[in-house]
Symmetry: C3
Subunit: 194 residues, 3 copies
C-alpha cells in the first residue's frame, strides 16, 4: 500500500484496502477486506473489522472499535474510546445476525459514545461525549445522554443553530458562531426532545 | 499450554491457566494465576487480571478489562470496551479492599458497559450497551441505562419474554421469538422498573 | 530516564519527561513533551498526549487516554477506560481550539468515565464509574451519572461525609468511616442535586 503509514507496532492484515495518506497508529488492528479511504487516521489501539467501509478524511481517535456492518462516510470524526456494535441480541453461542449502522458525511461522534447497531447518524450530526445512541439522528442533529436525545441542531462548524423562522416545510436556522443558515425539515425539527 | 492460541503480539504471563481451544488476540494481556476455561476468546487489547476466574465458551470483545475479584461463569458474552471494577472507594494511595463481582452462566454484557463491583449478574441476564450496573440483576433480567434499571426479562436467545400468566410464586413468560417458556420468580418480577 | 520502568511493549517518545519510580505498562503510548511525575503508573494500553502535565503518585488504570490540555495534580486516581477530551466542537477538518481541563490533588475518577473538557475536578473529589462530567466539581464533591450530578461529599478515604452542623459560611461534615471532619463551603454545599 503506497503512501499509507502503518506504525511498526500496528497490525494490518493482507487484503485490507487503505487509501493514500491514511495513518494507522500504535497497536491498532485493521482486518482483511475492509476499506479505509484516503487521508484518514486510526488512533492508538483502534480496531477496524472485516468488510467495514470507511471514507476519506475520517479521523478515528484512540481505542475506537468499528465492527463489521458499519459504514462511515467521508469527513466523519469518531472520538476516542467510541465503540460500535453489530448484534442486537448478543449471546456467547448460537445464531448471530449482523445489523448495519451508517454514519453519514461530516458527522461527529463524541468520546466514549456507544452506538447501538441499526441506526443512521445523519450528515453533520453531532453526538455528545459519553452518549448511548439508540435511534436515528437527523442531519445536523445534536444529541447527547443515555439514551441520547435530540437536543438541537448544529452547523458544519459544530456550534449551535438558532431558530430564525418557521416555514411550512422547514425551519430556517442560523449558526450562533459563523452565521451560516440551514433549513431543517419540519419533521426533523419536531423530533426535538426538551 | 497446548491447544491455546496466543497471538504473537499478546502478553500471557507464566502461571496463567488457559484451557484448550481458547484464543488470546492482539495486544491482549493475561496475568499470572488467572484461570480461563476452554474455547473462550479474549479480543484485541483485552486484559485479564491475576486470580480472575473465567469459564468455558466465554466471548470477551475488544478492549475488555476484567480485574481481580471478578468471576465469570461459562457461556458468558462480554461486549467490547466493557470494564469491570473491584474497588468502591478508589484512591491513589492508602488501604484497598477488593470487592467481588459474579457473572452467572449464559449472561451477556453489552458494549462499553461499566460494572460497579459487588454485584451479581444473573444467569442468562442481558445488560444493554453503555449501561452502568450498580446492583444485582436477576436471572434472565434485561437491564439498561445509567444507572441500569430492570426493564424486562429475556430468553436464552436474547429476545424479550412476554407475560403469559401470573401464578402465586412465579410469572410464566414466553419468548417473543422462539416461544420457549420460563418461570420468573415473583420477587424478581416485582423488581421491574417502568 | 533513570529509575523509570517502561515495559518492552510500550512506546515512550523521546523528550517525554517521566519521574523516578514511575511505571509505563504494556502497549501504552507516552508522547513527547509531556511531564509525568514520580511514582506514577500508566496501565495497559494507556495514552498520554503531548504537553500533558501529570503529578506524582498518580495511578492511571488500563486504557486511559489523557489528551493535550489536561493537567492532573498529585495523588490522583484515574480509573480504567477513562477518557478525557480537549475539543468542544469536534469535526474531522477545520479549525481546532484546545480547551483545558484540570484535575486537582487527590481526586479520583471512576472507571469508564468521560470528562468533557473545560472542567475542574476539585481536590479529593470522586467521580462514580461510568459518569459523564460536564461541569466543575467542588473539592471533596461526589458526583455520578450522565450528566454527572453532585450527590454528596467524600472524605480523603473516599467514604461519605455526613452533615454535622451548618455554620454561616460552611457546613461541618464528618466521615462516616474514619470520623475526620471537614468544612464544606456553603456555596459548594448548595450545589447538591437531589
Amino acid at each position: 500500500m503506497k503512501g499509507v503509514f502503518v506504525h511498526h507496532t500496528a497490525t494490518v492484515e493482507k487484503h485490507a484496502n487503505i487509501g493514500k495518506g491514511t495513518k494507522i497508529w500504535h497497536y491498532a488492528h485493521v482486518r482483511e477486506f475492509c476499506d479505509i479511504g484516503k487521508n484518514s487516521v486510526l488512533g492508538h489501539c483502534g480496531f477496524v473489522d472485516t468488510w467495514v467501509k470507511i471514507g476519506d478524511n475520517v479521523k478515528m481517535g484512540n481505542k475506537v472499535s468499528v465492527f463489521r456492518g458499519v459504514t462511515i462516510e467521508d469527513d466523519v470524526l469518531v472520538g476516542p474510546h467510541v465503540t460500535f456494535t453489530n448484534d442486537l441480541y448478543p449471546r456467547s453461542g448460537g445464531e448471530w445476525k449482523i445489523i448495519k449502522t451508517l454514519v453519514r458525511k461530516g458527522a461527529s461522534i463524541g468520546a466514549n459514545s456507544t452506538i447501538i447497531c441499526g441506526v443512521t447518524i445523519g450528515s453533520h450530526a453531532m453526538v455528545g461525549g459519553g452518549s448511548v445512541v439508540t435511534k436515528d439522528i437527523p442531519d445536523h442533529g445534536m444529541v447527547y445522554g443515555n439514551p441520547a436525545k435530540l437536543k438541537g441542531f448544529v452547523c458544519l462548524c459544530g456550534d449551535y443553530l438558532e431558530h430564525v423562522k418557521r416555514g411550512r416545510t422547514a425551519v430556517e436556522m442560523r449558526c450562533h458562531r459563523c452565521r451560516k443558515t440551514f433549513k431543517i425539515g419540519i419533521q426533523d425539527y419536531k423530533k426535538l426532545e426538551r
